[in-house]
């Protein structure tokens, strides 16, 4: 890393970023409709209070441990280790209540919203995991919850739709736009704009206007804190490389953060390479996007020469998003994290390998991380790696059954 990049990383580690304007270097900011600005400012103020409040932090940790099933295990993947010639460790977010890392953020934000005295929660969901997590957290806290979900995602993640309804959440099918995660976020914002004082929007990833990318990262950083300590305890050493999948990027940020200061640890974010490298055939924002503004933040983005947002494709609903968290764009710009992509078929192949040899069904999203990990292992025999297993694949059974029967 160059000196300039090292200084920026230092600023991030010292808590100076995001800065007062909500930026990580040039990325981030607050590109929100005026109606939301007072609510965003109020949220900013309260985050400062509650994230530093020991009582709130203790309540949050208690709930994470006693209700959401933390700390999650670190699993030594003995079969993959043999097959790949490296020591493979898995951080098991799939073991959390509701089955993915999303619960950390949903629970934390719902608890925060309750403290702020809001009357209802809105959330968006792609794969349905954030929707289910929000629905469960809201049921636990007695808050009414509405979840927006793209019509296409409702079809490919059907089990999660019924789970949300069972938890008492209203699920609204979004027929506008691309009918996936991006349109669901548009619609959740529209809902929030109509009653910003009494509604809290639990955004599901490290995207959106400041302070959301920061707030969600803080809620997810428990993943990396646990994993780093577990590597030292169980593995007796830090990993040589860490891999996590990136859609909006919340599980990756959560896992990476504790390792950012460990210079010797290489970090890899893996996006959805979809069917091909052609525009519209993937969701590899950091690999092939350009800077732009969507959903309240300035970050890397898949858009055309007229500034229109590109349709994306991924077999995994959770990665099917044309933007990415501004902190990832920043980490790429200072060369601290390397971002690559994995194709649909590669991810599905690794999903099967993990199933067959480790007895774990990973989400299709998480399977993308394994693709790059296996590639890296070929040139780095004998080393040790940590893979973020962000969620379980039960929700993907309709997609997987269809493929099995083809």
């Amino acid at each position: 890393m160059k000196n300039k990049d090292q200084n920026l990383l230092r600023a991030l580690l010292d808590g100076e970023l995001p800065d007062e304007s909500g930026r990580f270097g040039s990325f981030g900011g607050q590109y929100a409709p005026e109606t939301l600005m007072p609510a965003l400012k109020k949220l900013e103020k309260n985050i400062k209070i509650f994230l530093n409040d020991e009582v709130f932090q203790e309540e949050f940790i208690n709930e994470l441990n006693s209700w959401a099933g933390r700390p999650t295990a670190l699993t030594y993947a003995s079969q993959l280790s043999k097959r790949w010639g490296v020591e493979v460790f898995l951080k098991r977010e799939d073991l959390t209540h509701t089955g993915a890392h999303k619960i950390n953020n949903a629970l934390g934000q719902a608890m925060l919203a309750k403290k702020l005295g809001v009357k209802r929660i809105v959330a968006e969901t792609g794969a349905g995991q954030h929707g289910v997590a929000s629905a469960a957290a809201c049921a636990r806290l007695g808050l009414p919850c509405t979840v927006y979900m793209g019509a296409i995602d409702i079809e490919r993640q059907a089990p999660n739709v019924d789970r949300m309804k069972q938890l008492g959440t209203e699920v609204i099918s979004v027929m506008s736009g691309d009918q996936t995660l991006r349109a669901a976020i548009d619609e959740a914002f529209r809902d929030w704009v109509s009653d910003p004082e009494n509604t809290h929007y639990i955004i599901g990833s490290v995207v959106g206007p400041h302070p959301f990318p920061y707030l969600v990262r803080e809620m997810q950083s428990i993943i990396g804190k646990e994993a780093r300590q577990q590597m030292l305890d169980v593995g007796e050493n830090l990993p040589d490389a860490v891999f996590a999948c990136v859609g909006g990027g919340s599980n990756a940020i959560g896992l990476f953060h504790a390792f950012l200061g460990d210079k010797e640890v290489e970090l890899f974010g893996i996006e959805a390479g979809g069917r091909s490298d052609d525009l519209g055939e993937n969701a590899a924002t950091l690999a092939s996007g350009k800077p732009g503004i969507l959903h309240g933040t300035y970050s890397m983005l898949l858009h055309d020469d007229n500034g229109l947002i590109q349709e994306t494709h991924s077999v995994s609903a959770g990665l099917d998003y044309p933007g990415v968290g501004p902190e990832h764009a920043f980490l790429q710009s200072i060369n601290r994290v390397k971002y690559t992509s994995a194709r649909d078929d590669e991810a599905l192949e690794l999903l099967r390998e993990v199933c067959e040899h480790e007895g774990i069904l990973p989400a299709i999203e998480s399977s993308h991380a394994f693709v790059e990990a296996r590639k890296w292992a070929r040139g780095n025999q004998g080393k040790r790696i940590l893979i973020g297993l962000s969620g379980r694949g039960d929700k993907d059974m309709p997609t997987l059954s269809k493929l099995m029967n083809e």
């Binding site: 929100a32 005026e34 109606t35 736009g177 548009d186 529209r190 959903h295 007229n306």
Partner: protein
């Protein structure tokens, strides 16, 4: 005369008496062929014309403008196309472009000013650009005398309305509802108090928009504002194949 000053002047002296009428249309909707003709028609009645630059993710817009934006994009409408069309006509009515930030950002700030001057665009409304982020664009536009029309809403605290009013040029866009454009609900009774407050703070004209659909809406707020922006209702009129000028006439008579 161009830009902010021109817009102010036209709003202060409306064609058919007060309040000024500012219709909004989505560029190239329902089709690209009629765009210039529609502008000529509307210009007969409008004091300022607001043209919507279609965007793929219109976060602040309701169903009508989502629909018109989507179809305009399918019709091939882009910011470049809009500038090209406007260069070919001459209207005696100021034009403001309503655009989300990303198409403007991609076009380039310097290029945006040049194209605006060349095609008779007087100002911009950017619904996802709050004052915290608008410095760069505002400076570029101000240097050329072009307007950046800022929005205030019923959720905006008074001290913030003052900040926004100080930075706005052309007019202040007072959003009358919390929510997206084109709402069906009637304006709330306390909207007049809010508009009165904005008017007291502002040194430039105040125009109200979002959810203004008919004559009774205009009557309700006419005493407190300098102009009204009518968007979804006129887009729906054009959609049905009805005359936009007749629609604009009956708003005041």
């Amino acid at each position: 005369m161009i830009g902010g000053k021109y817009i102010e002047k036209k709003i202060r002296a409306p064609k058919a008496g007060g309040p000024a009428i500012i219709p909004f249309i989505t560029a190239g909707y329902p089709n690209t062929e009629d765009f210039k003709q529609t502008l000529h028609e509307i210009a007969k009645k409008a004091d300022v014309i607001e043209i919507g630059v279609p965007f793929s993710d219109p976060m602040a817009d309701g169903v009508t403008i989502q629909r018109s934006s989507h179809l305009a994009i399918e019709n091939g409408v882009t910011l470049t196309w809009i500038f090209d069309q406007l260069r070919e006509i001459k209207l005696d009515t100021p034009i403001v472009l309503m655009s989300y930030l990303n198409p403007l950002y991609v076009f380039g700030m310097k290029e945006l000013v040049e194209a605006s001057i060349a095609s008779g665009v007087d100002g911009f409304i950017v619904p996802d650009l709050p004052i915290e982020e608008s410095k760069e664009l505002n400076e570029q536009l101000m240097d050329a005398g072009l307007a950046l029309i800022q929005l205030v809403t019923p959720a905006t605290p008074l001290d913030r309305i003052e900040l926004i009013a100080n930075q706005s040029t052309g007019f202040i866009y007072a959003v009358t509802v919390k929510g997206v454009t084109g709402g069906e609900d009637a304006l709330s009774a306390d909207v007049t108090d809010y508009l009165k407050q904005v008017q007291e703070i502002s040194r430039i004209p105040v125009c109200a928009g979002f959810g203004i659909r008919e004559k009774s809406d205009v009557e309700m707020i006419a005493d407190y504002i300098d102009g009204v922006i009518v968007g979804s209702a006129i887009v729906e009129t054009i959609e049905k194949g009805n005359s936009p000028t007749e629609f604009l006439d009956q708003l005041k008579n």
